[in-house]
């Protein structure tokens, strides 16, 4: 147990050298490495926080965009629905107008057809009635309708002579037109009656298929219609009166 002061000095120097060596090769690299790793971890944590914030911001942005898209979609759907309703209303109005026009046209067409049918019915009825009358006159009285009309006209001229002379003026020809050729007896009767009243007037007989049954006498500017046209025209009025009176038009089977 003795102290060698040279050894003590050498050991102090050795210890100081060892402090420097360990500082150089142990403490500083290790502590710097730990500090670097801590700094790296801190940076990574900060980056993670930033990335998380960025992700949250992106998520919020995405949610906002989705929300905006949904709102835009809803607006577009409303606009489309409104436009569709407008177009539907317009199409309905157009269809309604066309339908009304078609209905009006159909009603007009029906009225026209009805009118035509009524006219046709009236003419057919008149024609049938005329045929029946002719047939009845021929079968029952051995007379023709035109012959009887001519005889009756010959008798009926006398009361209208004054008016006929005024209307005829100074004309010296008379024309009697009929739809069918008059029997000779009827012509003679008419001729004698007219020459009795108008001795200077020559009489001619003509036929006109478009003329209604009966006779038409023209002298100068005067015209005397002696036809069944007025009766046939009144046939429609009679039928309307019968229908209005509630006559049953049902055909009763025999």
């Amino acid at each position: 147990m003795s102290i060698d002061w040279i050894t003590v000095a050498a050991q102090i120097a050795n210890f100081l050298v060892l402090v420097w060596l360990l500082k150089r090769f142990l403490y500083r690299p290790i502590l710097d490495g730990i500090d670097a790793r801590e700094a790296k971890i801190t940076n990574r944590m900060q980056e993670a926080v930033l990335a998380k914030e960025k992700a949250q911001a992106a998520e919020q942005l995405h949610l906002d965009q989705v929300r905006a898209l949904n709102a835009k979609q809803a607006d577009m759907a409303d606009a489309v629905q409104q436009e569709a309703e407008t177009q539907r209303d317009a199409l309905l109005a157009d269809a309604r107008n066309r339908l009304e026009q078609e209905q009006a046209a159909w009603v007009a067409h029906q009225d026209e057809e009805s009118r035509k049918y009524a006219v046709k019915l009236q003419r057919a009825g008149g024609g049938a009635l005329l045929s029946l009358t002719r047939k009845a006159l021929t079968d029952l009285a051995d007379e023709t309708l035109e012959g009887r009309i001519a005889q009756h006209l010959a008798k009926g001229i006398a009361p209208m002579v004054a008016d006929l002379r005024i209307a005829a003026g100074k004309s010296n020809s008379a024309v009697i037109t009929s739809r069918d050729v008059l029997p000779p007896s009827a012509k003679d009767d008419l001729m004698s009656s007219l020459q009795t009243v108008f001795p200077d007037v020559s009489v001619q007989f003509e036929t006109d298929v478009d003329q209604p049954p009966g006779l038409v006498l023209r002298i100068g500017g005067a015209q005397l219609d002696w036809t069944v046209d007025g009766y046939i025209d009144s046939l429609g009025d009679l039928m309307d009166e019968q229908l209005a009176a509630g006559v049953d038009l049902k055909v009763v089977p025999k």
Binding site: A9, Q11, L18, V19, F25, L26, I30, G33
Partner: protein, 222 residues
């Protein structure tokens, strides 16, 4: 033991160099490839655990970061611990079993205490501590300062030397059993002595340095 350039090198210095070489080469080999892009291996992790353990022990005694204190006290601990652990190597004579080495370490602590104190508080501030709590205490403070170093040196030397002496005695009494038990016990006491030496050095140095400023002002007690 031998001479280098006519300078006699005794066993204490030689084995001290061996310990220094072991510590330096091991540190150099482990930390040579230390880069941020290289993941730490188990050796590096071991060194980190040792260094951080020393740092945490220092901070428990002397709060506040001080790398210089770590360099000094850590080297003290590693040197003493490594010297004591190499006791189990046949033929190795631990340098700490020499009173010259322990005296040198105690003197280095004795010198380090005022150096750290002056660095921390300035020369005036440090010298004022010898007058605390009263100028009458000046001689007692000086005696206390020297007795610290002497106690450190004698404690370390006594523990390591006693272990070696006891092992030698037991070896002569029971050559095959007791030395093994004493060597195992010597490993434990060697590490404990290194820890105690380093902690006492830290306590002495921290008592000479200024207390760290509180990070937050203390609340007033109503």
């Amino acid at each position: 033991m031998f001479e280098v350039w006519d300078i006699p090198i005794n066993a204490t210095i030689f084995y001290t160099w061996i310990v220094m070489a072991l510590l330096t080469v091991a540190s150099l080999l482990i930390t040579r490839n230390l880069r941020p892009d290289v993941p730490p291996n188990r050796w590096r992790t071991m060194l980190e655990v040792i260094v951080q353990g020393i740092q945490s022990q220092i901070e428990e005694v002397a709060p506040g970061p001080s790398r210089h204190l770590l360099y000094y006290v850590g080297t003290l601990f590693l040197f003493v611990a490594m010297s004591n652990l190499l006791l189990v190597v046949p033929g190795f004579e631990p340098p700490t079993a020499s009173l010259s080495t322990t005296t040198a370490l105690a003197l280095s602590v004795l010198i380090a205490v005022p150096l750290f104190g002056i660095t921390s508080q300035g020369l005036g501030g440090y010298l004022k501590t010898y007058l605390q709590p009263s100028f009458i205490m000046l001689p007692f403070n000086i005696i206390s300062e020297f007795s610290r170093g002497i106690s450190l040196a004698i404690r370390l030397y006594g523990n390591i030397m006693s272990g070696a002496v006891i092992a030698a005695i037991l070896l002569s009494v029971a050559p095959f059993f007791f030395p093994v038990v004493m060597d195992v016990l010597g490993l434990l006491t060697g590490v404990i002595q290194a820890y105690i030496f380093a902690i006492l050095a830290t306590v002495y140095i921290s008592s000479a340095t200024a207390p760290p400023k509180p990070s937050q002002p203390e609340k007033e007690i109503p």
